[in-house]
């Protein structure tokens, strides 16, 4: 009988769940805890069934205190465990900001490498799910400006699986940002899967006219925009950054040198957002290849709006294409008029 190679469809949420399962099975030092990650399986069900299948010792609910969650994870990791903790929503990671910034990020450095903290902090982040206030923040810029942290965010189910496994195996502390509105995004892929190493950006779509630089929730949106642009005769390349910090810009600079034009897109407010870093460094490194300034598209510089207005806040295909249109396709463009 001939072998059939099964393929199957998975959501990003299911891929993350599978990654946690496989990590728990592979390494007895891994454990998962946080608020409601036990019997409930997390408010997004990413930890569904872990307590049932691995026992309370491996996946459990902790007291409701984010600073304490990260602080205890630091202590556990210092003693050789690999804790994977969850912050229930983006804005609820702020109480842990001091632990993340002053301890988690710096411990290796403070101790000249003697103390290694392989902690993964999972944070469902970003908007688009109609969440009330404090449930839709994109906080990546706070973390990417903090040396010592790795900040990664998957854009596809396969990457979600692979990058979470890598993050758990990694000896650096990892802020693992999960684009919550993509939890239900589907992909046909056989798990377990290993994609490119997480520190490498990947070209999700090749194109020659301009580069869309994206990550997390915007990967799918950018691909959609590129499709739409193709209809209008513009061939856009889409680069998915994946690991935001420390950042390896080889892929993205190579792309921009080729296309000569770029737009960085994220959900976060543009001002002081991660896109500023990307735009600045791409410009530093590709200046003479650029036909137009690197433009940035994102949320407005306002607090994340209520559900009924989020469609006007979040960048979508139209806002991206408008930016692409502004990339000075005619030659006699001069700014400041």
């Amino acid at each position: 009988m001939a072998h059939t190679f099964p393929t199957s469809e998975t959501t990003m949420g299911a891929a993350l769940n599978r990654a946690l399962r496989d990590a728990l099975a592979a390494d007895p030092d891994v454990l998962v805890y946080g608020e409601d990650v036990g019997p409930l399986g997390g408010v997004f069900r990413v930890t569904d069934g872990l307590t049932a299948d691995f026992g309370e010792e491996r996946c459990f609910d902790s007291p409701l205190a984010e600073s304490g969650i990260v602080g205890t994870a630091i202590g556990m990791a210092a003693y050789g465990l690999r804790p994977v903790v969850e912050m229930q929503f983006d804005a609820f990671s702020y109480p842990a900001f001091e632990q993340v910034t002053s301890h988690l990020a710096k411990m290796r450095n403070r101790t000249r490498g003697a103390v290694t903290l392989p902690v993964v902090i999972r944070v469902p982040y970003g908007g688009g799910i109609g969440g009330v206030e404090h449930h839709s923040d994109s906080s990546e810029a706070y973390y990417t400006h903090t040396p010592g942290l790795r900040v990664v965010t998957p854009g596809t189910p396969a990457d979600a699986y692979s990058m979470l496994r890598e993050a758990i195996d990694c000896d650096d502390p990892v802020l693992f940002l999960e684009p919550k509105r993509r939890y239900w995004a589907r992909e046909t892929v056989e798990l377990p899967v290993r994609t490119e190493p997480m520190q490498r950006s990947v070209v999700r779509r090749s194109g020659s006219d301009a580069t869309l630089i994206v990550y997390g929730p915007m990967v799918a949106t950018a691909l959609e925009a590129a499709e739409a642009a193709a209809g209008e005769g513009r061939d856009l390349e889409v680069v998915d950054l994946r690991q935001l910090a420390p950042f390896d810009d080889a892929t993205v600079t190579a792309s921009v040198r080729r296309t000569g034009r770029a737009v960085v897109v994220h959900e976060a407010s543009v001002f002081g957002g991660y896109g500023a870093e990307v735009a600045a460094r791409v410009t530093e490194q590709c200046f003479h290849h650029l036909e137009a300034p690197v433009l940035r598209v994102g949320g407005w510089d306002v607090p994340y709006p209520p559900p009924k207005l989020e469609e006007h806040h979040l960048p979508g295909v139209d806002r991206i294409l408008t930016a692409v249109d502004r990339l000075q396709w005619e030659s006699e463009w001069v700014e400041g008029r």
Partner: protein
Amino acid sequence: MRLVDRHGVRREHSSFTVPDPAMLAELHRAMVIGRRFNQQAGTLARQGRLAVYPSSTGQEAAQVGGVLALGERDWLFPSYRDSVAMLTHGVDPVETLTLFRGDWHCGYDPHRYRCAPQCTPLATNASHAVGLTYAARHKGHDVAALVLMGDGATSEGDTHEAYNFAAVWNTPVVFLVQNNHWAISVPLHRQSVAPTLAHKAVGYGMRGYHVDGNDAAAVHSVVAHALTEAREGGGPAIVEALTYRVDPHTNADAPQRYRDDGEVEYWVERDPLIRMETLLRNEQIVDDGLLEVYERDAERIATVVRDRMAGEDRLDPASLFTDVYAEVPPVLERQRNELAEELREV
């Protein structure tokens, strides 16, 4: 501490007395309205007219008992689960739901109702209450505050800091902890192993009270007492009201994953409304006629909510930019124009 048992019978207590009949009737009325409001909001959530709704069915006595102890100039600091408290405090029912409807964050003017915005980041508004009452005293005003928080929220560092600031500054704040046994799916014993949450008061040099949270008379009596003491310089207090969330955490919750129906039944048998109604009937404080009036009042509010929710408000996208700063800065002015441009194009 209990003043009315679950069969609606008065219990003697050495230091607290049952509120007078008028207040008992008022407590009941507010609970009837609250119960109906929770139901109505639940329906709206199921219909997709609310983005989310955290019901407080089962907790009416704690909310109503606490709020009706507040004075004229006192402030309420509610969490997301405290619609019934807010309603009782006088906040417009539709404005109470603005947050959950997704129309805006805070749907009302906090100054108008002396009611802080519903707080979602747990425990973070407790210190606001301390600061507000401090400021009022600084200005020579007699203003106390009631902070509503859950059992889960007591684990947060912000709770500790607020308790301590209140105690050290001796501000008139009562922290009413609605211990409904669950923080979403996390049971109390994973949150605290203290004998009671009221015991936490000891570590701040505060008074702590542990009360049957399904006994509106008891909650009212204790909170009123604590507020009076606090006003007179006796310092803040923690009141733990033991109660139960009968409904799911929100309409999006799946309680069958973490709790037994039996537990819910146990608490349904201890329903705060039935208890109070029995007392009021037995003692002839209210008759059928008045009870019907309460039901009608409740129904009327439910209808108002339903009707005013029926229409779809047109939200002006430009309002995204107006109240970020006292004046719209140039950078937001430009973005407002960009958005207007986007909207013209589609």
